[in-house]
């Protein structure tokens, strides 16, 4: 064992996180929050497994949901096959079977996909993902057709230390245990020679070949291992939702995990965890407020690609570096000054999108073309130009102010960064 993996500060951090994860449901007792936390845990494992490819090996995959979905289906079928014969212990171990299914899929599909790297790899994974998704609709006996396969995670009458996994809180505990085990395993993998070689293959494949490593083999191994962890996440999702549909392995799921990992930050091990928390919370909170949530999410993603390609994690890391250099105080007033115009701009844009959405599609209960509707809790007359002009004006003011104050923020930012790097040099 590498001592760096289990250094005292890391152990303290992980212990703290584990304690926090177990303490959360004691404080926040609402069922809504607990199912939200379950979803976050599953997505965190899934997106971490995705980042083993994109962040650590430089492989952009558009078909990662295949491993997740196959893991979920394998778990669900085994759960149903065991039926009354099993107990809580077997159920708790089922995600491992999901992982093995993901691993097997990784061996078969990875053999084809990892022959190429870069852009070609991205296109091939897209094609393979589509192929598996199309196959899943061809075999309704295995994949349940449109309705999916459902099951019951409570099997048998016995309990394991009093747990049956029936209540959502107990399921949450199981997810936390699996998520922590997987996270630590994935982190440990980054410290192994294989993990290091994956980084080398990402950064300079030619040189890795010269040193004597087979880049194709390194990619292949990483795809297999990442397939395993994606399968575990799929198995957890099968137990958590008690239903698996063909949607779990289609292109949409693959796209979502890519967005999560990228928004969180692919350059950092824990980036995808931040992404999973942020995106899941956004999805539930904003998705509950408006039907245009996917549009906002897509725009947010484009914004991140253009402005902060390192993801949220990179922003946090830079702030910490500034703080340690004693420069954060210099930036804070500028952040505060920029927040206001950005909020104005956002309010204007959201207003425009929501008005358009209400006018064109008709929001809940309001038919398309109806004149009166509720937008963000306000009763508005859609037919009149008033709300539209207001939203346009707010957007315009927001753009002007953001450009003006944003320019000052940028020059201050560049100056501060120059100071920071100057100090280091």
């Amino acid at each position: 064992m590498n001592s760096a993996i289990f250094s005292r500060s890391r152990l303290a951090l992980w212990g703290g996180c584990l304690a926090l994860a177990f303490a959360l449901p004691l404080v926040l007792k609402s069922g809504f929050i607990i199912s939200l936390l379950c979803q976050i845990g599953i997505m965190a494992v899934f997106s971490l497994s995705y980042n083993m490819l994109l962040g650590q090996t430089g492989l952009l995959s558009f078909g990662h949901a295949v491993y997740y979905g196959l893991g979920a289906f394998a778990t669900m079928h085994l759960l149903n096959a065991i039926g009354k014969g099993g107990g809580p212990l077997t159920t708790a171990l089922l995600p491992f079977v999901g992982g093995l299914a993901g691993l097997a899929a990784g061996i078969v599909l990875g053999y084809v996909t990892t022959r190429k790297a870069g852009t070609t790899f991205a296109m091939i994974t897209l094609g393979i993902g589509e192929m598996v998704a199309a196959c899943s609709l061809m075999f309704p006996g295995i994949f349940g057709g449109e309705g999916g396969v459902s099951g019951n995670r409570v099997v048998g009458k016995e309990t394991l230390l009093g747990f049956t996994w029936g209540p959502q809180v107990e399921m949450y505990g199981l997810i936390v245990l699996w998520a922590f085990a997987c996270t630590i395993a994935m982190f440990a993998l980054t410290q192994t020679p294989l993990g290091r070689m994956a980084n080398a293959v990402r950064d300079n494949p030619e040189r890795a070949e010269f040193v004597g490593y087979d880049t194709e083999r390194v990619r292949f191994l990483m795809v297999i291992l990442s397939g395993f962890f994606a399968g575990v996440a799929g198995g957890l999702s099968a137990l958590n939702y008690e239903i698996v549909t063909a949607e779990t392995l289609n292109a949409h799921t693959s796209g979502v995990v890519l967005l999560i990992a990228f928004v969180g930050g692919i350059g950092f091990f824990y980036g995808p965890i931040i992404g999973a928390i942020l995106v899941t919370v956004m999805q539930i909170v904003i998705g509950g407020m408006t039907h245009a949530w996917l549009l906002y999410f897509g725009l947010f993603f484009l914004f991140m690609v253009l402005v902060a390609p390192g993801g949220i994690a990179s922003l946090i890391v830079v702030q910490r570096a500034l703080w340690q250099a004693g420069l954060l105080g210099r930036m804070l007033p500028h952040y505060a000054a920029t927040a206001l115009p950005v909020l104005i701009l956002l309010a204007g844009l959201v207003g425009l999108i929501e008005l358009g959405y209400a006018l064109l599609t008709g929001d809940a209960g309001v038919g398309a073309g109806d004149t009166a509707t509720k937008v963000l809790g306000m009763q508005l007359q859609l037919g009149t130009p008033g709300p539209w002009l207001t939203a346009l004006a707010v957007t315009g003011i927001g753009i002007v102010l953001t450009r003006w104050i944003g320019g000052r923020l940028r020059s201050e930012w560049n100056a501060t960064l120059a100071t920071l790097h100057g100090d280091k040099a």
């Binding site: 967005l259 245009a292 993603f301 690609v305 064109l360 599609t361």
Partner: protein, 312 residues
């Protein structure tokens, strides 16, 4: 015989339509190194723009205006989005186009709704072109073929016979040298991107009413176009052409064949065991998977694609 000829004609029509998409994708890829993930989204935009124009002023103005509009949108995307993303490398560019595809689909949901729109074939072209062995060949299919071939010839002439075509070809391989000679290479990139997306838009205009105009059409065609580009060889126009026709014919033929593996074995007198799901699948049922199987086979036996250059 009848089935073969009619399927062949339909397959070639569909293949030519696919080539209009894959040619733009290939040109953009070989020039800018960008795999435009949103390419099929521009195809979808073309169909929706043409639908909107056809409800206002009719089909024929849309045939011209919609591709130009799509091309303009594409040029703007290149100028204000991709060029910015380019600074962060190829992955950022790819992710940008991926996010763009996502946003375009949502915007289409927002404006035109989630169900298919009624984008109709114009009355002048709604008829039979000729009848072959009792099967009517629709006039619109002939029109599609005409437009695609005309577009191909125009594209070929543009690339090989005009000054701007020569500059584009030069910029494909030696952008630095072209820039040193005083040409505005970023503007050429913008033109190529706009042109490629306009081609996709045109494919949408003539394909949208022949097939279906709905928000899922981009995703349905998008992955097929990627398969074509991989099978043909990344960056090879000739390969993309062959692969487009091949995939077009495979898809058309497979839809009409209801033979299963069991039937094939029955022909040679072998009775397969009942109950095997795989053996009883007909080719029609397999149709959606066949292009991907072809791609996998190509990757295993000829990884650089039919006409692709060897990677170094």
């Amino acid at each position: 015989m009848e089935f073969v000829v009619i399927s062949l004609l339909n397959g070639i029509t569909y293949g030519l339509l696919l080539f209009m998409l894959s040619s733009g994708l290939t040109l953009i890829f070989s020039m800018m190194g960008i795999l435009n993930f949103a390419h099929a989204s521009f195809y979808m935009l073309g169909a929706y723009f043409a639908y909107q124009i056809s409800t206002l002023v009719g089909f024929w103005p849309g045939l011209l205006v919609a591709p130009l509009l799509v091309g303009a949108v594409g040029a703007l995307v290149e100028r204000y989005g991709l060029r910015r993303a380019h600074r962060f490398g190829h992955v950022a560019e790819l992710l940008f186009t991926f996010g763009l595809a996502f946003v375009v689909e949502e915007v289409v949901h927002l404006i035109w709704g989630k169900v298919a729109v009624d984008y109709k074939i114009p009355d002048e072209l709604d008829g039979t072109l000729f009848t072959l062995f009792d099967t009517a060949f629709p006039m619109y299919r002939g029109f599609m073929m005409l437009v695609s071939v005309g577009m191909l010839v125009a594209l070929y002439a543009l690339l090989t016979r005009t000054r701007i075509g020569l500059i584009i070809q030069a910029a494909l391989t030696k952008p630095d040298m072209v820039e040193a000679l005083g040409h505005n290479v970023p503007r050429i990139f913008m033109l190529v991107f706009g042109g490629g997306t306009a081609l996709a838009g045109l494919a949408g205009v003539i394909g949208g009413n022949a097939f279906i105009t709905e928000p899922g059409m981009a995703a349905a065609v998008g992955s097929i176009v990627f398969v074509i580009v991989v099978v043909g060889g990344l960056g090879s126009l000739g390969g993309a052409f062959i692969a487009s026709l091949l995939i077009g014919c495979i898809q058309t033929f497979s839809v009409g064949l209801s033979i299963s593996i069991t039937d094939v074995f029955a022909l040679i007198g072998v009775e397969l065991l009942e109950g095997s799901q795989v053996a009883r699948l007909t080719i029609t049922q397999l149709a959606p998977v066949l292009p991907y199987l072809l791609m996998v086979a190509i990757l295993i036996f000829r990884p650089r694609g039919l006409m692709g250059a060897r990677e170094n």
